[in-house]
């Protein structure tokens, strides 16, 4: 059996459950809310929403981001402890979506935050969110 690197040992312990912090603008919360209900129930899969970015492993960003809110998002990103993953949820977050011609909406999220994964859709399918989170687990599993 191959020796595990210290980094993987740490990550394996951290990854038992994924703690997420939500930064949701406008209808952003509706995009994750099917996951909270009993049909998809995210807690079964170890996704737990926390109230403080300092406890979080994953930062979910949803809804359109404005000139004002993106600064708050950046501050939240800075407060999230390493190792951290940023997941952009929904088309407004990624490209501005239907607000593509709004003077006040962020059009490229990656210009402001290092985004790990995008989940497209309006709203994204809950399965897509699970797949994204599954990829985080998989990434740790495949680490050397």
């Amino acid at each position: 059996m191959s020796e595990e690197s210290p980094q993987k040992k740490v990550m394996k312990r951290l990854i038992k459950a994924i703690w997420v912090f939500n930064w949701f603008n406008s209808c952003g919360f509706c995009e994750l809310v099917p996951l909270v209900g009993s049909r998809w129930d995210m807690e079964r899969f170890g996704i737990i929403v926390v109230g403080n970015p300092r406890h979080a492993d994953v930062l979910f960003i949803a809804g359109y981001q404005t000139l004002k809110s993106i600064k708050r998002a950046q501050r939240i990103y800075e407060q999230t402890s390493e190792p951290k993953v940023v997941i952009a949820l929904g088309s407004c977050t990624m490209t501005g979506g239907m607000y593509w011609d709004s003077y006040n909406t962020i059009k490229r999220l990656e210009d402001y935050l290092p985004v790990t994964m995008y989940i497209p859709g309006c709203p994204p399918r809950p399965e897509a969110v699970f797949e994204a989170v599954g990829k985080i687990f998989k990434h740790v599993e495949e680490m050397k």
């Binding site: 000139l67 011609d101 709004s102 003077y103 006040n104 059009k107």
Partner: protein, 172 residues
């Protein structure tokens, strides 16, 4: 049309003291057109003498052809249950007007702050006109009718060379 006695009383009171255009739009709705230099006196009068204690809203309408902004103050009286609308015009290129925040306090302060952000109207004497939402904004006042936001967004956010974003150019 039913016009109650109280509305006629209010109109008489105002026309006695000010040179303004007045009218009863319908029951419990009065409008007044006033020149901008009389606005503060008129507002003081309707609040202190006629009991219009609540400034419900302050809005700005842009009239680019006339070269003017129309400021509209909607003021409610709890005693009489009457809404009075005071309208006044200011110059569009250099919109300046005295603040009413000394009369109605906080509620008018935040309305003026918003109108300053969206239309660029300077309310002289308002203690805080910092932007509500448009932090670091350096474009023109966004709610002006001659502000072409689509053009602004193209120049500011998109690039023609980008595969996806090139689709945003050349359509209106």
């Amino acid at each position: 049309m039913v016009e109650s006695v109280r509305e006629k009383e209010i109109i008489e009171n105002i026309t006695k003291n000010f040179k303004v255009d007045v009218g009863i739009q319908r029951e419990r709705r009065i409008w007044v057109k006033s020149p901008s230099e009389d606005l503060i006196d008129l507002c003081m009068f309707v609040k202190n003498k006629l009991g219009f204690k609540h400034l419900s809203a302050l809005s700005v309408t842009d009239w680019p052809k006339k070269g003017e902004y129309e400021l509209t103050y909607h003021i409610w009286s709890y005693d009489d249950k009457i809404l009075i609308t005071i309208k006044t015009m200011v110059d569009r290129e250099n919109p300046e007007i005295e603040t009413v925040s000394k009369i109605w306090g906080e509620s008018s302060q935040i309305h003026e702050r918003e109108m300053h952000e969206l239309f660029g109207v300077k309310f002289k004497g308002n203690p805080d006109l910092s932007p509500l939402f448009l932090e670091d904004w350096d474009g023109p006042a966004p709610f002006r009718k001659d502000f072409d936001w689509r053009e602004y967004v193209r120049n500011e956010y998109y690039s023609k060379d980008n595969d996806r974003e090139s689709a945003y150019f050349g359509r209106d």
